[in-house]
Symmetry: C2
Subunit: 215 residues, 2 copies
Amino acid sequence: MRLRNKPWAREKISAHPQYIIPNPEEAKGHWHEIFGNNNPVHIEVGTGKGQFVTGMAKQNPDINYIGIEMYESVIVTALDRLIEAGLPNLKLLNVDGAELLNYFEKGEVGRVYLNFSDPWPKSRHAKRRLTYKTFLSLYESLMPEGGEVHFKTDNQGLFEFSLKSFSEYGMLLTFVSLDLHNSSFEGNVMTEYEEKFSAKGQRIYRSEARFQPRP
Amino acid sequence: MRLRNKPWAREKISAHPQYIIPNPEEAKGHWHEIFGNNNPVHIEVGTGKGQFVTGMAKQNPDINYIGIEMYESVIVTALDRLIEAGLPNLKLLNVDGAELLNYFEKGEVGRVYLNFSDPWPKSRHAKRRLTYKTFLSLYESLMPEGGEVHFKTDNQGLFEFSLKSFSEYGMLLTFVSLDLHNSSFEGNVMTEYEEKFSAKGQRIYRSEARFQPRP
């Protein structure tokens, strides 16, 4: 998305430590204490303006959500949503998704959501796609056995790549929709992008893939 | 497809034993003798009117092809094509794809093609889909380790089902196209259906999946 420079963003983020965790390295291994319960923790990598993760947190009060977004100028909009909604089961992290190992212990994350991630269409940028094998390995290292990655995109090339990448990594495909909005799938929470693109008649692709036990 | 009764079909089939193998049980274990060479044998299950398998045999003279079609009234059209083309590397089999074990030894088939197979859209008919696990098991039992299933369809539901089915069976997805005719894939040979449906602007889906070594 287009990034606007928002010089006031950092200050606003600092002013809301109850929503955007200020020293996330210190949260590692302590997420259940932070949320004050033992509910599962689901994370969204690249949470953008936060419409999806806020909607999910409203829909599922017994799951804890963490929206991860590296851009200050974007996460402030998610922060506004969260201030308005005042959800106890949602936190935000202003960090780079590639460095998740710094913020979570093995097994601390129950599920990873990826929504409309940057497609990085050039082959030489394949390693930057959030479904590339190094990222899958990263997610696997945060979750208990059988953890799942739930993925949505409108980008055909990224979806083709990701299905192969999940398979090559040894993951099990448990859900595939090639046209989510014309399917029987229930309870879909839309992202900002999804609303915009699907209104134009663009297909939305969705998959669920599960990490398998290592032999 | 709509089947027309063609009472003369059986007679015509019998008249061309060099193209449509008359006693296919006896061919089991002898396909390399029948073709007179040691080239790989690729089969198409549900070959219909034979446009795909004839085109592939022309394009790849160093591969032996066998088109398998259970309906006499349909395979006669494939026979006409083969008589006209006179290809030494193509044979037809007028048998039920569910009974392939009667006609091939383990390892005798190098690759299986499935094109525009009947989608059997009702859940209670899922077992009849040619990508259901019992069929995958059948194909695996004909091929050496690492054998592949190449699949094309215009049916979204069948493609979604098949990707999951390949994955659940433990196969590796090595190719996925969600819009074959607008992709960079080269050398595509179209079936009769494919020509008709793609001319209407319908998307064609294509995948390649590889059987994996058993632990």
